[in-house]
């Protein structure tokens, strides 16, 4: 096969990655609650939680959202319309074949799972077909990962620091690069819906 000419940047998003830390559960509820049952994008979430504890996040969110919610497992393929949480104590990556992989490398920004790790690997796997959103939190994890998404041509959005319960995380991202969007949660949610309808049609 002959190499083909580079394609123009693809704006159709095929997956969404989300990062949140302190205050993140509530923020995620506001962002995701009531997504339509026809929702078609995979959503992958790193929420900082203590290591060595079983995470109840998948169950808690499964009860609230009307979407299939899982703890991401090693080599599990990402499925359309499903929501995934990183397991506690492991880094979560997305591979080129659009399956998850786990690893127990040392924590990044004191966090395992780390948002940077997920976002950077997702940027490699999806290139421009990825959207990343960073919400409330009290450390700097995620800033670099979000920048990598932007460098790969994807869409980046940050929760408005004025609205965030803890503004350090969104602020760190804004200090590092210019996200495509800085918005309060309700508008981030509108953006999500818009990205999805562009994907579905």
């Amino acid at each position: 096969m002959k190499p083909t000419a580079p394609q123009p940047p693809e704006r159709r998003v095929e997956a969404v990655v989300l990062g949140a830390s302190a205050g993140g559960i509530e923020a995620l509820f506001t962002l995701l609650n009531g997504l339509p049952p026809s929702w078609s994008l995979p959503v992958v979430i790193v929420l900082h939680v203590p290591e060595n504890h079983e995470s109840h996040l998948p169950q808690i969110f499964a009860d609230r959202l009307h979407l299939p919610v899982h703890e991401a497992a090693d080599k599990m393929p990402l499925a359309a319309g499903h929501v995934y949480f990183a397991p506690p104590g492991y880094h979560l990556s997305i591979e080129r074949d659009r399956r998850f992989s786990l690893s127990c490398e040392p924590p990044v920004h004191f966090s395992r799972p780390s948002i940077d790790v997920l976002m950077s690997s997702a940027a490699d796997a999806y290139g421009p077909a990825l959207a990343g959103m960073l919400l409330t939190g009290a450390n700097e994890d995620g800033a670099e990962g979000l920048q990598r998404i932007q460098q790969a041509g994807g869409i980046t959005a940050v929760q408005d620091p004025n609205e965030a319960q803890i503004s350090i995380m969104p602020q760190a991202a804004i200090a590092l690069h210019s996200p495509d969007h800085v918005l309060p949660l309700r508008e981030l949610r509108a953006l999500l819906l818009q990205l999805e309808s562009a994907h579905a049609h």
Partner: protein, 271 residues
């Protein structure tokens, strides 16, 4: 494919051709992170520059190996796993006149010492042969010595208790300065050996294989190879223990093992 990925593949090919270490079927995301981290630590500008040096300098390859393998471990890591072994596997191991256990990817030995302590408390150690294997010679050497930082060992005490420990953890080591030296008799019947799940074959029939937090670094093809080795090594109805977040669900061996203790990831060879 990005330039970084091309360089990464070429590096792994070079390492394979030169040193016979086969990292070609490892998951790319974490391999890339580790190589970029090594570049920063070694002060090299690019993966190609690293490749050039690695080919000519075995000592540098030895250093790179410390980054490529992830020598992270803990004693009684995930205590529920060890508790499940104690409660649900040991009673069946007792029915064999002698027992062989394979700890694959044993790293610096924490898992081996944990198992040895458990087997001694359950009255099995004296008739058990443990094979502890890894590809990292520096880690194997540490494992042989059985000396761990005292700070870490203090933390392991809680793990040990949650794993159903029957004694006082401090009975098993002597503390000196910053280190804890574990009772060498625990490892009298342990064979530490270099063995790669990517290139080597089966060497013994075993009743239990414990391979924790190793398969996650492999792609599906290599996971299948490793699981094939375990399947071949295990006796009829033998046990396989994986890491807390590992499963065989996405491998072609999913039907060839039965779940034994599900949340603790202990499987049993299917008939």
């Amino acid at each position: 494919m990005s330039n970084t990925e091309i360089e990464l593949r070429l590096l792994m090919e070079a390492i394979y051709l030169k040193y016979s270490y086969d990292f070609r079927n490892y998951t790319v995301a974490s391999q890339k992170r580790r190589v970029l981290h090594a570049l920063a630590q070694l002060g090299l500008p690019s993966i190609s520059a690293l490749q050039e040096k690695v080919l000519r300098d075995p000592a540098l390859f030895g250093r790179l190996l410390q980054y490529l393998t992830i020598p992270v471990s803990e004693m009684f890591r995930d205590p529920a796993y060890f508790l499940a072994l104690r409660q649900h596997v040991v009673p069946i191991l007792h029915t064999y006149p002698s027992v062989k256990v394979w700890v694959a990817g044993c790293s610096t030995g924490e898992e081996v010492f944990s198992l040895a302590i458990l087997l001694r408390e359950e009255g099995l150690l004296s008739r058990t042969q443990i094979y502890a294997t890894d590809i990292n010679p520096a880690s194997l050497e540490k494992a042989r010595q059985g000396i761990f930082p005292i700070e870490a060992v203090r933390g392991y005490t809680a793990n040990y208790q949650r794993a159903g420990g029957r004694s006082s953890f401090s009975d098993y080591y002597t503390a000196a300065y910053e280190a804890a030296r574990f009772d060498p008799s625990l490892c009298a019947d342990v064979i530490f050996a270099d063995h790669s799940l990517a290139t080597d074959s089966v060497f013994a029939e075993t009743q239990l294989v414990s391979c924790r937090n190793v398969l996650i670094y492999f792609n599906r093809e290599l996971q299948d190879r490793a699981l094939g080795l375990f399947h071949e090594s295990l006796c009829h109805r033998g046990f396989l223990g994986l890491g807390a977040k590992e499963s065989i669900d996405f491998s072609s061996y999913s039907q060839r093992f039965d779940a034994h203790s599900q949340p603790e990831r202990i499987y049993r060879k299917a008939t």
